[in-house]
């Protein structure tokens, strides 16, 4: 009787593990497939299911980087993502601090406007933005993506910073003021170092969004010299259709930085991922 109960339990656990492993394979196999085939010669790629190539053929990466221009796209992406993410953190930390801790007239209304920006889809504004950027003569310029990318992240990031700054006790700020710090000094020297978790969350979200963004990048950067990785990848696919190892090498190049950032900031990733959703 008791034994029967135990084996039923064990069976149940077995089934659970089986499901978990099947899901694991379904989620991970495509990445291994891409990586494995990026290391094969075009003649040996996409044959059968063996994940480990007979010999590692790194030439695809060289070809993708130099010949196919991925190196160029990579640099554009790094520059645009770095500038956008950095500026997003700076301007939204300032604003979040003010909304959370400075009692100024009109604060409620302005914060309402910021929040309403959260529900405007970036896809809706692509046409007027294109025309606006054309007027400003900014198309095919890094700024054509930097400003819209900051704007895209602004509402959520301000929200994160505001909520975080609201939790910091007043005493710290007061003692800084006693020591004769101005508002700006207090902000930079006292508050910002305390806000590291909020900075991490905002950095992660901005980085991920800027690194992946595709629609604006396609429309605002038509000059191949200015393309970012996602648009470059598609442009590149048009030229090298069915050279799968080359394409897969390019895909690995766009994925690696995300994985690196993920590994370093894993703790904040999962927290940030679920931020807001549970609290509502």
């Amino acid at each position: 009787m008791v034994q029967g109960g135990v084996s039923l339990r064990a069976k149940r656990r077995g089934v659970l593990y089986l499901i978990a492993v099947v899901l694991f394979v379904v989620q991970v196999f495509p990445f291994l497939y891409v990586f494995s085939n990026s290391l094969r010669t075009p003649a040996t790629a996409m044959r059968g299911f063996a994940l480990i190539p007979n010999q590692f053929h790194f030439a695809n990466y060289e070809r993708a980087w130099s010949m196919a221009g991925m190196g160029h796209y990579f640099i554009n992406s790094v520059v645009i993502t770095a500038i956008s993410t950095f500026l997003t953190v700076v301007v939204t930390a300032l604003a979040g601090y003010a909304f959370g801790r400075i009692r100024f007239w009109g604060r409620g209304i302005l914060f309402g406007i910021v929040l309403s920006g959260m529900i405007i889809p970036s896809q809706v504004t692509v046409i007027p933005l294109y025309i606006f950027l054309q007027h400003l003569n900014l198309l095919n310029n890094y700024l054509a993506l930097v400003f819209p990318y900051i704007a895209m992240q602004t509402p959520f990031s301000i929200f994160v910073f505001r909520n975080y700054f609201m939790t910091i006790p007043n005493e710290l700020e007061d003692s800084a003021k006693m020591d004769g710090c101005g508002m700006m000094r207090t902000f930079w020297n006292v508050m910002m170092p305390l806000a590291l978790p909020a900075i991490a969350t905002v950095t992660i979200f901005s980085f991920m969004s800027d690194w992946s963004e595709f629609l604006y990048a396609t429309v605002f950067m038509t000059d191949p010299n200015m393309m970012t990785l996602p648009t470059g990848l598609v442009h590149f696919q048009g030229q090298y259709t069915y050279d799968w190892p080359l394409l897969f090498a390019a895909i690995v190049m766009i994925i690696i930085p995300v994985l690196v950032v993920f590994m370093f900031l894993q703790k904040f990733f999962v927290k940030g991922l679920t931020a807001g959703a549970v609290k509502g």
């Binding site: 694991f24 497939y33 604060r107 629609l215 549970v278």
Partner: protein, 294 residues
């Protein structure tokens, strides 16, 4: 007197702090949003001349078979994504809440695709769906199912569903993390009390756990639906809306009308339709969470 001056100074400092962010938001989100509404009432030809036509663009949309097809496809995309993402993420969260060994590896692998740029995901799956050498057809032929080895992305019957499948694959794990975070806020006492009262695991889940997850459910449902209505990257990369517009969606149609045919007024009307749909869902979300809070 002093306090009024102090208040004024505080206000000026406050404005100084919020100004940079607000200027960027105003110029690059709010101003374009107001503009798109204005543009949607204009006839705008390729030469750049424009004139007011009132609701003309909207009336034309009602008879535009491609746009109607895009709306229908988007609804299918949203409905299937919702059903599968919701179910998989909820059950996945329950599974990951059973303290299995190695669960952090499982968890990470499940939401990993949501971190990867969608363009890369789309291209990778294009390789998998490739009719001659792709993994899927290789596997099917290996199993002797040659008749099932289709031209997945070029077949009007399967193209849209392949894209939807990849969307589900990419996002269910992310939503699972949300449910998991929700599950971890439910106190064990409640569950145990129910079990002591003789409720089965099934009953406990449906009567207690699931209703308590309602706030997360609302977030998952609304973000999945809104995300589906904004779908573009995956469709553009995997099928380009083809074959024969069988897999086109709203944003893709908007993109083509705007930037391939330069019909800015017409594409703006499509944008406004999209904006209204998204606003309705956001409104519903707020309404639901507010009635919950009361």
């Amino acid at each position: 007197m002093n306090s009024v001056r102090g208040k004024l100074k505080t206000t000026l400092v406050g404005y100084g702090f919020v100004l940079p962010a607000l200027v960027i938001l105003a110029l690059f989100t709010i101003y374009p949003m107001l503009r798109v509404i204005q543009y949607s009432f204009l006839q705008w030809d390729i030469m750049g001349s424009k004139h007011w036509i009132g609701l003309g663009n909207y009336l034309a949309l009602l008879h535009d078979s491609t746009f109607l097809r895009a709306i229908a496809n988007t609804i299918v995309y949203a409905a299937l994504s919702l059903i599968f993402i919701y179910t998989a993420s909820l059950l996945g969260a329950v599974l990951m809440n059973q303290s299995l060994r190695g669960q952090s590896i499982f968890r990470t692998s499940y939401f990993l695709p949501s971190l990867i740029p969608t363009v890369a995901i789309g291209l990778a799956w294009q390789g998998i769906f490739d009719p001659s050498n792709g993994l899927l057809n290789t596997l099917l032929r290996f199993l002797g199912l040659n008749s099932l080895a289709l031209q997945w992305l070029a077949n009007p019957k399967t193209a849209l569903y392949c894209v939807i499948f990849v969307n589900i694959w990419q996002w269910w794990g992310y939503n699972m993390m949300l449910f998991l975070a929700g599950l971890q806020t439910i106190s064990n006492d409640i569950i145990e009390a129910a079990r002591v009262d003789g409720a089965s695991a099934f009953t406990t889940f449906f009567r207690i756990t699931w209703p308590l997850l309602r706030p997360v459910s609302i977030v998952v449902i609304v973000t999945t639906i809104i995300g589906s209505f904004k779908a573009f990257d995956l469709v553009y990369v995997m099928t380009g809306g083809g074959p024969f517009e069988k897999s086109t969606v709203i944003v893709l149609d908007l993109f083509q009308q705007g930037f391939q045919f330069m019909k800015f007024g017409y594409a703006s009307a499509m944008s406004v339709v999209l904006l209204i749909i998204v606003l309705i869902w956001s409104g519903l979300q707020m309404w639901f969470s507010r009635t919950d809070a009361e």
